[in-house]
Subunit: 201 residues, 2 copies
């Protein structure tokens, strides 16, 4: 019944997910065929199509599973109405990424025509936008730039660094250290980061 179909089905789907991710990282999304996937997952080709309509469907399945996990995490971290920016959401993303590095690598590299990357950007920048809006509200000030643009810029910066970090050779800088750097970049601005502030001399 449902118990059986769930257990067996889950195992198969999981194998297909893992096979897709590792194959895509190995040779790129376009170069991976359904045959490759089922061979790596050790299932029959016909089986693939009983679970997913096509390669894209499997890809979307991977992306949304990652996204759902991340959203749960962020919801927990953002729960306290501490609207101030503490770097906790950023740290959470990095932590999650370090738990599923391959899936993150695949998504952030823009594999699969970048659909996953865009979904990711949207979700993440929505959170960022909320944070910024809350901070502006809490302090009753008027923002000097479009908060949407600000959120996009902020997310773009972090995705770039996250991808760099995932691909960095071991020993990789600790999560907290990278996050701290990012937060300081945001806080102090980039001029400060180079050790030179043209305004303060």
């Amino acid at each position: 019944m449902t118990v059986v179909e769930d257990r067996r089905s889950r195992r198969t789907r999981g194998a297909l997910r893992d096979a897709l991710v590792s194959l895509v990282l190995e040779r790129g999304y376009a170069a991976v065929t359904v045959e490759d996937i089922v061979a790596a997952a050790d299932v029959g080709r016909a089986t693939f199509y009983t679970h997913f309509r096509d390669k894209e469907a499997l890809y979307d399945h991977v992306v949304s599973s990652v996204l759902e996990e991340l959203e749960e995490r962020l919801a927990e971290v953002l729960a306290p109405e501490d609207a101030g920016f503490t770097g906790q959401p950023v740290a959470e993303v990095f932590r999650h990424a370090s738990e599923r590095p391959d899936a993150y690598r695949m998504i952030l590299r823009g594999e699969g025509d970048g659909r996953g990357l865009r979904a990711f950007e949207d979700a993440w920048s929505a959170t960022a936008h909320e944070t910024f809006t809350a901070r502006v509200k809490a302090n009753a000030v008027r923002p000097r730039v479009d908060l949407q643009v600000l959120a996009r810029a902020w997310v773009g910066e972090q995705m770039a660094v996250l991808l760099w970090w995932l691909d960095a050779p071991e020993p990789r800088p600790a999560t907290d250290q990278v996050v701290e750097t990012l937060v300081e970049l945001s806080r102090r601005g980039r001029f400060w980061a180079t050790g030179f502030d043209p305004d303060s001399r």
Copy 2:
């Protein structure tokens, strides 16, 4: 002779380039076939293969043509040894993008398995890295973060904003205004941008 082959050849290649870009923007890289391209460019299918080995080759051709143009521009702007960061390189990228918006859209959206996007990132962040290094040197200071990371973050931020800007509905904010915002974001940091600096109260 060479004159003939150049004129006719150029027209054909140009038509193919334009066809690829507009079709990719319309329905996505993977969904565009060589047949579609030659139909849109109004050339025979066989002709395609006398110019490009396959769809990827045409795509790469588009990307590198854009990249070469951009690099020329940046070289001009960076010529004076004003190593200080003035926003001129950023402005130049935005100006170039507004002249070839569709090609930029295609690349920045990560179409074509993101190969173009990565090439773009690399070129751009190399320039950024040079700028930062020069500034550090000119002021004989020690950077507080890895300049490579800084460059990546900076480029990620700008690519995200550039893409947003290209897709923004008309009337689009003026180039100079967006660039100014980006420069101020870098200069002052993001906290300032929201009108609230936790350090200065």
